[in-house]
């Protein structure tokens, strides 16, 4: 049995005079200890997916339909009290910006101890001992002293390490990391990613890594979901998606990277913009920007189909695959 099984998850937002759908029929599985990347640009719905898994959508968002089975239990239908037993305990989350994630008026120790005490009957001393062990695991120098420090006394990279240590406190089954290094510098980013990978592997923790950076996904995960306008457009093994993308959007995303073009030449850009949630086109949401789009694409929404080992939501995937050299030329 898989650790996490999401089926037909649909999330809506009740706006001023309409209800918009932020996630459409998201389905995926995650095995125990597996690392999954969710890639997409801003507005694709990747963060909303992350928060839905924690049942932590903030108003006016809500889970409209679908199931989120975690260890066989449906999280989507749980109330807050039931969720509290899971959050931080079996499922932990790492937020994007370490500068604002920690409470500025509580010490690192207080924030770590409270997490432990929320889920286990532990004295403060016992909890602090566990906290120190975990801080050591993330290579925080002199962890005993850190416990008495306030967040503002530490650098961003240090704080993100502490947040990772906090996520590991209760040995969860799954960590959801929402752009964990976007707010950090390049050299620190690489360190944090390496640390996260190492810890997930050694503790056999499942990881869902939400990011916009294909390079990060490529280094960190075994499987990848590519999202566009609230839908999964392509899902499969990371290596295959990076080396041989099937969906025109995934192809466009990879080809648009400067590394994919000779220096000084025009980049292969995807024309147009990501549609806003209120004006998602009928048919395939990517059709207005897609150079392969035919009439059919603009009227009928493509369902995900298996293509080789990946699943792709594209009507034209067969034609496209045969045309790949062409596409290279016209881009």
């Amino acid at each position: 049995m898989s650790l996490l099984s999401v089926s037909d998850l649909t999330v809506k937002f009740a706006m001023r005079d309409q209800t918009v759908t932020a996630l459409h029929d998201i389905s995926f599985d995650l095995a125990k200890g597996e690392r999954l990347g969710i890639v997409g640009e801003s507005g694709a719905g990747k963060s909303i997916t992350g928060f839905s898994l924690m049942n932590l959508l903030s108003k006016p968002g809500y889970i409209d339909s679908g199931k989120i089975l975690f260890e066989g239990q449906d999280i989507a239908g749980m109330n807050d009290a039931q969720m509290r037993g899971i959050r931080g305990n079996k499922m932990a989350m790492i937020f994007q910006d370490p500068m604002v994630t920690l409470n500025p008026v509580l010490t690192i120790g207080q924030q770590m101890v409270e997490t432990l005490q929320a889920h286990r009957k532990l004295s403060r001393d016992e909890a602090e001992q566990i906290a120190i062990v975990k801080l050591r695991e993330v290579y925080i120098p002199s962890p005993e002293e850190r416990l008495n420090q306030y967040p503002h006394e530490l650098s961003g990279g240090m704080r993100q390490r502490i947040i990772i240590a906090m996520a590991l406190l209760l040995n969860p089954q799954l960590i959801i990391a929402d752009e964990p290094t976007t707010a950090l510098d390049v050299t620190i980013q690489a360190d944090i990613m390496e640390l996260l990978l190492e810890l997930c592997q050694s503790n056999k923790v499942g990881l869902i890594l939400i990011t916009h950076d294909l390079g990060v996904v490529s280094q960190m995960t075994e499987r990848t979901l590519v999202m566009y306008a609230g839908r999964i457009v392509e899902a499969g093994r990371t290596r295959e998606i990076i080396n041989d993308p099937q969906h025109p959007y995934t192809q466009g995303l990879i080809n648009a990277l400067p590394q994919q073009t000779l220096p000084g030449h025009r980049l292969k850009q995807i024309p147009g913009n990501m549609p806003s949630l209120t004006s998602i086109p009928v048919g395939c949401p990517f059709s207005p920007r897609c150079s392969y789009a035919v009439d059919h694409c603009r009227t009928t929404r493509p369902e995900p189909i298996s293509y080789g080992t990946v699943r792709v939501a594209c009507h034209e995937v067969n034609r496209l695959h045969n045309d790949t050299p062409d596409q290279e030329k016209q881009a």
Binding site: R16, G272, N273, S279, P288
Partner: protein
């Protein structure tokens, strides 16, 4: 991109009607009712000379024998005085109309003065920064910590003592406008400065500087229009506060004289008679004052919810 080019340009009226602000106004019955009540009060105050059955400033129309008649729905009333009369025999309804006119006039003028001073000082302090900024803001802090009312009381008390009460009474309106206007400038200055500092960090200001625009142009054309939301919000609150301040000062005998009563001085003169049972001289102007201030505050609240500016706190 295509949906941008095909849609036609809406007219200005349509734009206003469709705007977030107009929409939330229509959806908010409290705001609509408040605006209606405010409009009624403001209109009757402006038209007081036309509506009022008596002229409370005309001694010939006042007869001390008519004093302390209760309103018409109470026993012992006189039908020509709808809301009764005050201690000097003035028709309360007419006096309230004139009093509201004075209260509103002082409130609005004082806020205009505050806004002028505060916005100029706030803009300059925020834009120029440095020593001038710290000096002005320390000054604002000190004045605020003393509270408007305190500054106003001291200032008015001293002017009253210096000029004597006759001269003071003659120019009371101007003194009140001046003192409430000057004493409250820090509220505006701090709010404007805070928004200017926030706006100044934004890149459109840098962009304007790189394009070579002068500081005046940048302040007035670029920064000021973007600082309007908080100015609108505090302006409503400030009008309400100015009206309360005027009433409080008049109540203490440092504002409008009884011969030319504002709502506050009317309440003050009625207070002496409250123990003898003539409650209406205090109660009716009191209700008018509270309703007036309340609707302004409710409008301010609504505006704060819609515009949601980050106001200066502390």
């Amino acid at each position: 991109m295509s949906d941008m080019t095909t849609s036609t340009e809406p007219t200005l009226m349509r734009r206003i009607w469709d705007s977030n602000m107009a929409y939330s106004f229509r959806r908010n019955p409290v705001a609509v009712v408040s605006l209606l009540i405010f409009a009624v009060i403001a209109l009757s105050a402006i038209l007081a000379p036309l509506i009022a059955p008596f002229d409370p400033y005309d001694p010939a129309q006042i007869d001390i024998m008519n004093s302390e008649y209760p309103p018409v729905w109470v026993d012992g009333s006189e039908s020509q005085f709808m809301l009764g009369t005050d201690d000097q025999g003035r028709d309360l309804w007419s006096t309230i109309l004139y009093g509201t006119r004075l209260s509103l006039l002082i409130g609005l003028c004082a806020v205009t003065l505050q806004a002028f001073l505060g916005i100029s000082i706030g803009l300059i302090a925020g834009y120029v920064g440095g020593r001038l900024d710290s000096l002005l803001m320390r000054l604002a802090d000190i004045q605020l910590s003393f509270s408007t009312l305190m500054v106003a009381i001291i200032f008015l008390a001293i002017t009253q003592a210096m000029f004597g009460s006759d001269t003071f009474n003659r120019f009371a309106v101007y003194f009140l406008i001046a003192v409430i206007g000057i004493a409250e400038w820090p509220q505006y200055a701090r709010t404007v400065r805070a928004t200017v500092l926030a706006e100044k960090k934004k890149e459109y200001v840098d962009s304007a500087r790189v394009l070579g625009f002068g500081p005046m142009r940048i302040m007035v054309r670029h920064i000021l229009p973007n600082s309007l939301s908080p100015i609108f919000v505090i302006s409503t609150v400030q009008v309400a506060n100015a009206i309360i301040s005027e009433a409080s000062l008049s109540f203490l005998g440092l504002g409008m004289p009884p011969s030319q009563p504002s709502l506050g001085s009317l309440i003050s003169s009625g207070f002496d008679y409250i123990f003898s049972g003539s409650w209406w001289i205090t109660a009716i102007p009191g209700i008018v004052l509270v309703v007036l201030v309340l609707v302004i505050n409710l409008l301010g609240d609504w505006m704060r919810d819609v515009l949601n500016p980050k106001l200066y706190k502390g």
